[in-house]
Symmetry: C2
Subunit: 431 residues, 2 copies
């Protein structure tokens, strides 16, 4: 019997008879020929049913196949007469399962709500395949980057007893007789990890109960958070830059076909080379003012501001030294101007928004204690965190990179809902 | 100025002056020499302070250093006179930060509760380093295995609207005006993924609100779940076997030193070769009865039974075809004996318990509908799942492998609490 091969492997089987197992994606006929496009998850292949090669019954049956019929196709692998790919000359065709009713997603234009309600089926379409493959490549690139640089993966807990940056926007869970919160960030735990293992990262889902309905927000999203002992803000910015360049290179090297499918111009991504521009918060404010935006020192940046700033540059821009007052309690202040925090945000090009936030952490016990008090945070919950400043405190820094926004940027997707297999948003908890 | 190098890189710098940045792990003195053991997360190095090489003040200061003092040590890398490693002849020593109080974890025997309360500091010890490095290697090996075989990572959602195997043991979360549950398994979503992308896996945290306090249970644990379209139970068992062999090989190849630190005999792991024994549930019952256990057909296996069975074999054992009545609703029944499910559990050797559960899924629409009804599950919540049987249903199978139990087995750890950086258990939500 002919061997089962995946469509992505066809080139290695030219001239051989193989079995493809998959689903009917599309179909057209021209009298004596049926062209059945079959997908198996690794690609789509044109299979050609010629009336002389099969029985009259099979030829007639092939004409009646509905979209998403599960099939086993046996045939010989041939070069496609026009395209740089392979096709299959069908000898045998077996229906594994016909749909019990008409497949709801057709070539016509469906609304987003309909497609999101049918996300479990929508995943079968070409564009979703491509986006999810780029996502998987980005995840692999990130993990490879850190593993290859001697970082130890230290998974942060999802259940946390306290909030990292205040209790607003937290999901609360009944934890037996206690309350727990779903993590917003593994950072505090990574600081403990860095003091133990030097260079660490966590990479998992994080949660924000934000009521905002924007194209950049999910309630559940994945974040990678490296943290390094004895690293300062400059080192942190170098690390962020190196990571982004490595991820873009790997995606360009291995997922170019998927980018094409998505209509993403790889030329824009090829510009993502070292060095990235690094500007201060003050310089960012000046850019906004020059662009006619109402912006003054002390403002935080929203999506609109990020877009204006990103349009000035052909690659990601690092904005450092925001006012400490608008940043989290754990940020170290700039010794040269204590009104500023030694922090950095990285804004993706082309209006895809902030993809990284990070910086150097305050390593002085008394200053962290004062900051916890000034931010009205529950001191007791942070005692273990303060221990990190009690026993051999050292300068350290890190950042968090959001996976979904990175996927949106590299794929050229307007909305983050298509960057994750099963998105969770304000009004979206299923399927 | 001498370059900062990590301890794991010292061999490449023999004869050179370098800077080590880390923490004092241990100290002993012999009159004219202080031996300071410094850890930096990548290893521990002996640094030697000779009274003639430094000022009298520095020599005296070195004698007073407390455990976990943060240090920068400048000196020359030399071969250790007795051990196959390197040491440092110190020229300069800078205290970055002395502990503000005595480090709570000393050489004396601490109780487990105390160590768990100080988990953020306990991570700094040798044994915890070794276990977490093995964990990270296992995670990398798993991801490499699936990425290398053409699987696409499809992250499953954490927030789910319904339960996969009933609503007991679920953590409930307020999701704006709705209720959500934290995922127990990504399987149902992976079935959608497999119908779209052929071969998929998810790998993330999963949650069980079990009130059991055993050495094998966490409320939050990581699981990898592959799912493959057109794969049957035999293929599933092959895949599970291949995965375990690949993971064990990578850990033996790259983390042998950590296994030694943990006192784990690598000889036991070297026996983990293909083929693994495959026994039926009925055979497993017979083994238990021969061992004098009260066991009868229809019983599920707990930790005790798993241990007895595992002791019969020198490698993981696959137990297949349990009674369908004690298994989940989605399992396909054995056509040769419909009382049995086409499922498989993999039991680790040496009493480390079940590490894999999986099997072939029911792919017939009417049978899944009947099973949902028979299990009293809310039909509405599974409509999307039924769609997978409506539109081109195919045979498919998969499994879930629990990371923490795998870490416990490979590291030889009695309790899973040391297999994850910040364990979450019935009475443990912090730090």
């Amino acid at each position: 019997m002919a061997p089962h091969v995946y469509i992505e492997e066809l080139a290695r089987h030219e001239g051989q008879e193989v079995v493809i197992k998959g689903w009917l994606y599309n179909k057209r006929s021209s009298g004596k020929l049926h062209f059945l496009e079959v997908r198996d998850g690794t690609g789509i292949v044109q299979t050609v049913v010629f009336h002389k090669d099969v029985s009259p019954e099979m030829f007639a049956a092939a004409d009646r196949l509905a979209q998403e019929t599960a099939l086993e196709v046996t045939g010989t692998v041939r070069k496609h007469p026009k395209l740089p790919e392979h096709e299959i000359s069908v000898r045998d065709l077996r229906v594994v399962a016909a749909p019990t009713q008409e497949y709801p997603i057709g070539p016509k234009d469906h609304g987003t709500a309909f497609l999101m309600d049918h996300r479990h089926l929508w995943l079968r379409s070409k564009l979703q395949h491509a986006a999810l493959r780029v996502r998987a490549e980005i995840v692999a690139a990130i993990r490879g980057f850190f593993d290859g640089r001697g970082f130890t993966l230290v998974d942060a807990p999802i259940f946390t007893p306290a909030a990292c940056e205040g209790t607003t926007n937290l999901f609360e869970v009944g934890y037996f007789d206690e309350k727990a919160y779903l993590t917003q960030s593994g950072q505090l735990y990574m600081e403990a990890g860095a003091m133990a293992l030097g260079k660490v990262y966590c990479f998992g889902p994080t949660f924000r109960a934000e009521k905002s309905k924007t194209r950049r927000h999910l309630t559940e999203f994945w974040m990678v958070e490296p943290e390094v002992a004895f690293m300062d803000l400059d080192g942190d910015m170098d690390l962020a830059e190196d990571l982004i360049v490595a991820v873009v290179e790997q995606v360009l090297g291995r997922r170019r076909r998927e980018l094409e499918t998505l209509g993403r111009d790889p030329g824009r991504l090829e510009q993502v080379k070292r060095p990235f521009p690094r500007i201060t918060y003050a310089e960012a404010i000046a850019i906004l003012q020059q662009a006619g935006k109402e912006a003054k020192s002390g403002d935080d940046f929203g999506g609109d501001e990020e877009t204006v700033i990103s349009e000035r540059f052909d690659r990601p821009v690092l904005i450092h030294r925001y006012p400490a007052d608008i940043k989290a309690f754990y940020m170290k202040r700039d010794p040269e101007d204590p009104r500023l925090a030694l922090c950095v945000d990285v804004i993706a090009p082309e209006g895809y928004g902030e993809i990284i936030g990070g910086g150097q952490r305050e390593d002085d016990l008394a200053k962290v204690e004062a900051s916890i008090a000034a931010h009205d945070l529950p001191r007791q919950a942070f005692e273990w965190y303060l221990d990190l400043r009690r026993y051999g405190t050292v300068p350290h820094a890190g950042f968090g990179l959001g996976v979904e926004r990175t996927v949106a940027w590299l794929c050229g997707l307007h909305h983050v809902r298509e960057t994750i297999p099963f998105p969770r948003m304000l009004e979206r908890l299923s399927p």
